[in-house]
Amino acid sequence: MKGDMYIARSPDKETADKAECGGAVTALLKFALESKKVEAVVAVKARDGNRYDGVAVVITDPKDLIETAGSLHCASPNIARFLKEYLDGAFNSKIAVVAKPCDAKAIIELAKRNQIKLDNLLIIGLNCTGTLPSAKAKSLFKEQFEVEPADVVGEDIEGNELIIRLKDGSEKKKDLAELEEKGYGRRENCRRCETNIPVMADIACGKWGTTDKDSTFIELCSDKGADFFEAAIEGGAIKVDQPSGNAVESRKKKDQAAVESAQKWQEKDFATLEEMSAEEKFSYWSEQFSHCIKCYGCRDACPICYCEVCFLEAERGFIPPGEVPPHMLFPMVRITHVMDSCVNCGQCQDACAMDIPISRLIFMLSKKIGAIFKHEPGMDVTALPPLRTVTDQELGQEGVEVTF
């Protein structure tokens, strides 16, 4: 039932060998397809076996699942957008989707906006302490680890260390904080992300709480997830043990440590923006937005944006067309439209051709709004976007102020 925890692995040797942590996730996806509980699986695979080129794939034949096994730390495809844009938001088919916490949160935000049909989705969540920017990761491996990027066969973030596994079976480690100080390391949004265990998904899977490399710690986070998982046990699709009290405790501690690290990053990231005077802020952001070339990359990448014909499109006539940089209303409208629901996925900043720290800004505002309304985006599909449901009375309260 919901809330139960397990240590799980695949009963199939090939899956367990090829995948990581005993292949529990792959085994669950296989069961989902074979038992016809879903028609398709959406997961991420290394295109042409290239670890730096993870892309979303739609799989209907269980045999193909093996190519999605194992984790990819140097890839961050936009899973929620993929579902919404190319799979009709799961309105017409039942789909199991593998999601990092930010993917799962974005899916929930889209479900709130009636863009994804949550009833048709089974969200298999993966623990995550961050992904690395694909292109930059290769220079990190070359310049800091002094290895050929193609020789890397696995990455891991364990506590404060970035560990890579090489073709020849050896491992190399480096202090993540030091790397990040030098401008390498995780994507900026990942550094400040406090959600490492995807409890908003139906099932949360991860290695924290396991003692060997051949098993996965699983938490059942919804009734739907629990029913599915119990059916998988019953069907012999997955082998399970009960986690020890120590295991549960260890998982919790690792999560806490990661959360604390994220909070430090938040303080640091936000401080650079907050410490400025009002004039400095104005000039800083005017300068940043003056770099904009109106590519719409941030909007298109934002999993929360969903309007069929966006207010910012030239044909709407609201923003004067053909200008670069666009009128200041362009970034302002973008920010205000999503700032109560940002899930800090970082996709907007990844897509910004001019390196504008847009995700940092929107997430900071989202945290401020969240504190006022006791709202956390992406966690609960019934908790509607606060700026949409805000009452006149709430707006009239004194001492409430959001600035940037």
């Binding site: 290239n50 290769k138 053909g322 051709a353």
Partner: protein
Amino acid sequence: MSIECLSTICPYCSCGCGINLIVKDGRIIGQEPWKEHPINEGTNCPKGKNAYQFLYSEDRLKMPLVRKNGTLKETSWEEALDLVASKFKEATPENFGFIASCRNSNEDAYVMQKFTRVVMGTNNIEYCGRLCHSPAAAALIPAMGSGVMQTSQPEIELADCFFLAGVNLRETFPMIARRVLRAKARGAKVIYTDPRKTTTARHLADIHLQLRSGTDAALINAMMSIILKEGLENKEFIASRTAGIDELRAFLAKVDLKQAEEITGVPLEKIKEAATTYAKAERGCILYDQGMSQHYVGTDNVRNHANLALLCGHAGKPGSGINSMRGQINGEGSGDMGCLCVFYPGFKRVGEDSAKLFEEAWGVKNLPTKPGITYIDMLYKCPYLYIVGGDPMMVVPDTNNVKKALEQANFIVVQDIFPTEISKLAHVVLPAATWVEREATHTWIDRRVQKINKVVDPPGEAKPDWQIICQLAEKMGRKNKFNFSSSGEIFEEIRRCIPQYKGITYERLSKTVGGIHWPCPSEEHPGTPTMFLEKFNTPDGLGHFQVVEYKPPAEVPDEEYPYFLTTGRSIFHYHTGAMTRRTPKLNDEVGSSFVEVNPEDAAKVGVKDKDLVTLKTRRGSIEAEAKVTDEVPPGLLFIPFHFADSCANVLTISALDPSAKCAETKVCAVKMEVKA
């Protein structure tokens, strides 16, 4: 449910950015960032973000068309190619001309020049590189040994001073502006020459030298003179890596700075600031494009910027050099392949030796040994024309005159993806496959060779350009020399004939994200991101100074035509607009032509914003909507050249650069009237 995410490279400018296409049941339904690609790391400019829509425009050419009783009628490939073959058999090596494009793939371009030389027996093969970057070869081969971009795109970030010579970087190469911005964040300075106060002037440049159109040479002479006077030249570099400094020094000693200030209209203090900033930099990077080269003194302009780079030692280092920025997807490659009347493939200058070399390579006899006719001359002199992927009616100056000449032509074949202005004059129109409708390589701005895979089928009976030409060669009795069954086979021949490409293979390209920079002499060689690290490619290995005297523009304003006119681009459009004007989101941004007018001039003539005005030169007139803005200074008008219905080149002057035969499309005299 078949949904695939397939990688490709953007079809627009020459940066070569990666894109992921989402393909469902054989049709592209969307695009997503390709974050691994080293050029753009998952980001794109407005055109790159709307890369594929043009493929599905309803008016794509799908069947061959043959003109019957004055109108183009659909026909079979058999009939169309039979007709073309019979007509081209009438042509002589002197009166046949082939115009290739910066949009062709390497394989297409290679087959086109081979067809022209082997089947038609002439070097009358040109491509639109002639109209934008021919001064690069003319000036930089003597100066440094090659006209190519000298550094790689990622290395641009290493520079600590940029000289953007007439390139509105934020609009024309936004993905390179991104790198300049990163360098700026680390303290780099940006010098920018442009008569217009563009978005680059406002939002990227530190020092904007708002010179008068066409006065670049005078400005650079002044800068060099200041550098020498202050002793800021790089003495060690000059001594060890250059020749000819004494002549330059003697010439510059006579430069009158006051006069330079008058000619250029740039305050001397600003010229000094720019000169010392560039000279004192560790790693100066000159980036330039048509703003400097589309003048009848284009070659001189490039020569003088090369002088400046050599004087300060800003060459032969990653992130430095004088870098010609080719604007189109295969601007580099079509030249590499030999689509120029003076070069066999691999920039082997046309002559007895090169003809002999290719006679052996291709197993043929009697290859032409004399240079052919250049692009613009071809339009006037060759009554048999084969034009692929380009629109001379849009890009050549004095279009009205071009039209008159072409109306007299015996036989014009146009091969393209859409009906164009030139196809209106064609006798036969052949439908081509493009971009991801076929497998091919292109060579991007920094000699970066990348491969594009086939993702979708071409519409109707459209075919890859190379296939059409091979079939035509077969009909003309030369099947044995054009017996290619795939683009891969053509590339293998390219590798055998062009030493710079020898080490590049389809297999390597499919495994190398971001491609390989030529020169790449062997399959083990990683490619060459930076040129001239050890020495220049000149016969003596040295960089050569070439003294340049300033010459005023061919046509300057007078009482009748009181304004300077200059032309250029918008970030939302691409060249003749054939692709971007069929892309709704881009066309919604800028849907029609406009003319930028300074408020002072507008007040004088009584023009208000959005008024329709008539622009008239000695060659013709067009109408455009006035955009009253201080982006242009008083006395200068600007129009973009993307719009067929308001074609900028009706107005421009056909004054040609004597060395490069590039035209002065960046400056002429014009008058403006409010439309009654």
